[in-house]
């Protein structure tokens, strides 16, 4: 239990640090560490597939993409940011933590343990047989993502 609490605290702290840091590289690394901790939590909660996805895709692949993008972009002129941004987030974060603590304490006893459902089975069975329509939706999301990249990184033709 102590390890779980330590992992959760680490997850919250690194996630908050990713937002607070102004240096994008540090923020990307904090996010990667947060994802790594989340992946470990998934493993410990007996969800190895999602843990593996979280660590390989979010902590690995996406971090590589972030760092590559940061390396390829140049620092432009200083963007003026409202000073309110530096205290609004920490304030909101603390208020959220306090509220979250009280709400979750009230809810913990009331959420029953999940009963056996027809949607149990191996990961593959659930994905391919139980949630088939989700896959159609995921194809739609991938389509939308690919088309968005094609549309937003297009070069204008000479005749247009």
């Amino acid at each position: 239990m102590i390890i779980e609490i330590a992992l959760l605290c680490g997850l919250v702290l690194f996630s908050a640090a990713a937002i607070v840091f102004r240096d994008l590289l540090k923020a990307a690394i904090c996010l990667a560490v947060a994802s790594l901790l989340l992946g470990i939590i998934f493993f410990r909660m007996k969800a190895p597939y999602i843990g593996a996805f979280e660590i390989s895709v979010v902590a690995g692949l996406i971090t590589v993409l972030f760092i590559t993008t940061i390396a390829l972009t140049k620092t432009g002129g200083d963007v003026r940011e409202s000073k309110a941004a530096s205290w609004i987030f920490p304030l909101f974060f603390i208020v959220f933590l306090v509220l979250d603590f009280f709400v979750m304490r009230g809810l913990m006893g009331k959420i029953p343990a999940l009963e056996a459902t027809p949607e149990q089975g191996t990961f593959g069975e659930v994905l391919w047989k139980m949630r088939t329509f989700d896959l159609v939706g995921q194809i739609g999301i991938i389509f939308a993502g690919v088309l968005a990249v094609l549309a937003l990184f297009r070069k204008r033709d000479k005749d247009e």
Binding site: V103, G106, L107, K110, I111, P112, L114, E115, T117, E119, K129, M130, R131, T132, F133, D134, V136, G137, Q138, I139, G140, I141, F143, A144, G145, L147, A148, L150, A151, L152, R154, R156, D157, E160
Partner: protein, 493 residues
């Protein structure tokens, strides 16, 4: 056949970028418009086969094996599919001429079709998690469409929209996770059964708050509206029309109504919250619209205000209130799409969206002026146009339910609406023609054809409102009035 509502736009979206390599304009135009004609024909076909039934479930098979794809078609989803296909067709017709100067037309149509597939999927699903997935399909496509012009404003608006939409999705996902945790299922029937037997009003209230926040952000209800006045004006005009006319209604109002009326069941507390959200949106957005000089921004605020009417009607929860809300949804989809398309015609002809710089354009653009007048009067609720009947039904429903204060405010906001639409008319079309616009010409053929079609539909729906209500709106309202019973047992799960 019902699966075609999702599969057809997705498949055509997949081949459109390839078609775009062969033909830059004609084939993409033809393909995209054909898809909407087929979807419209499918709606009428399904309406015939659904006649007399409350709902139908389509179970898909693959090589004789049943797939776990079950799609539900009832009066409410059929009505929404009709609205999406009809308005989608008008938008796609308008894009033939309008999108020429943006370039990459095939990609534009492909994204628009993915957005349509996402909306259609959301209208047919029977599962909370699938609502989330198809909401994201439509949303991801719409982020790219808002930024399609690639200008600074477009990219900034798209980013703002993406950020707030991500917050909405996070709240929805959190709500879905808790519901799954307490009911052990995700499909509507299991969840509504589970919630009825669950002895924890506190927990259900907590989830309801998450859903209101999520769907409220998607529907841009005040105070969750900050993204809409930036995103909708920045997008190309056909997409502004699709976002305001369709997307906020499907991913906001439809999903909200489906979840709260058919799955959670509308409690008095929930009804009160929805009615207050509706009335606050109506009033604040109407007041904000008054001060705008950018025509598209004014129309965007007007969308928030009119969605307020729809949520007020549905939130009231009486059969007449729901009927009025849904009828207003349809009428607003027609009229607001028309107005956004016309704002695109104005912007294309004059190069500006600033109402103060326009003036006297009615003489140069008579069709655009005429159809804008029809759309404006319709939304403002002037008889005999369609918007009048839907607002009248909502107000009568409020009076019947003895909600006098809400009824009076609804009438007053209608007056405010007429006021800011008259400002558009006066500043853009009436008065002396500004010399700058002496060479301005009417919009090209397909753009005017599309707006004339929508204008005629506004008039026809107003004149034949009884037929429209009986054939499309009443079956939709009945599905919602039956509440959770629609999901429990009556569908033959």
């Amino acid at each position: 056949m019902v699966f075609l509502f999702v599969a057809l736009p997705l498949v055509v979206a997949g081949i459109l970028p390839l078609v775009g390599k062969i033909s830059k304009k004609v084939l993409p135009d033809l393909l995209a418009n054909s898809v909407f004609v087929v979807l419209l024909a499918l709606v009428f076909f399904e309406a015939r086969s659904l006649a007399g039934q409350d709902a139908a479930i389509e179970q898909l098979f693959w090589l004789g094996e049943p797939l776990n794809i079950r799609l539900m078609l009832d009066g409410f989803s059929l009505f929404m599919l009709f609205a999406v296909s009809l308005v989608g067709f008008a938008i796609s017709l308008f894009s033939i001429d309008y999108m020429d100067h943006y370039g990459s037309k095939a990609n534009f149509y492909a994204l628009f079709l993915v957005m349509t597939a996402g909306m259609n999927g959301l209208l047919l699903v029977t599962d909370l998690f699938q609502i989330y997935i198809f909401l994201e399909v439509a949303a991801v496509a719409s982020y790219a469409l808002v930024a399609f012009g690639l200008g600074h404003d477009e990219l900034e608006a798209s980013f703002k929209y993406l950020m707030l939409s991500a917050v909405a999705s996070a709240f929805l996902l959190a709500g879905i996770v808790i519901i799954f945790g307490v009911t052990g299922g995700l499909d509507f029937e299991t969840v509504s059964q589970g919630l009825q037997t669950l002895d924890s009003r506190y927990l259900v209230g907590f989830c309801a708050a998450f859903f209101i926040l999520g769907f409220g952000l998607k529907a841009a209800l005040v105070p969750f509206h900050a993204w809409l006045p930036d995103a909708h004006p920045s997008a190309p005009a056909p997409i502004s029309a699709a976002l305001s006319g369709l997307l906020i209604k499907v991913s906001g109002v439809y999903a909200l109504a489906r979840v709260f009326l058919n799955v959670f069941g509308l409690t008095p507390a929930l009804s009160t919250v929805l009615m207050y959200l509706g009335i606050i949106s109506m009033v604040i957005a109407a007041l904000l619209a008054l001060g705008q000089t950018d025509i598209k921004r004014m129309l965007a605020y007007s969308s928030i205000s009119q969605v307020g009417y729809i949520v007020l009607g549905i939130g009231l929860g009486t059969p007449l209130g729901i009927l009025g809300g849904l009828f207003h949804l349809f009428n607003h989809a027609l009229a607001k799409s028309l107005l956004f398309l016309n704002s695109g015609s104005l912007q294309m002809s004059t190069g500006t969206r600033n109402l103060d710089e326009m003036g006297g354009l009615g003489k140069r653009m008579p069709v655009t002026a005429g159809t804008t007048l029809i759309g404006s009067l319709s939304i403002a609720g002037v008889p005999p146009l369609n918007g009048f009947w839907s607002k009248l039904i909502i107000i009568v429903a409020l009076v019947q339910a003895k909600q006098w204060a809400f009824a009076v405010i609804a009438v007053l906001v209608s007056v405010l609406t007429l006021w800011y639409y008259l400002i558009i008319q006066r500043k853009a079309f009436f008065g002396k023609l500004n010399e700058r616009w002496s060479d301005v010409r009417e919009a090209p053929f397909w753009m005017t054809a599309s707006t004339v079609l929508l204008g005629l539909l506004c008039i026809a729906t107003g004149i034949f409102f009884a037929a429209t209500v009986n054939s499309w709106i009443r079956p939709a309202a009945d599905s919602l009035v039956k509440g959770v019973q629609t999901m429990l047992g009556s569908l033959g799960f």
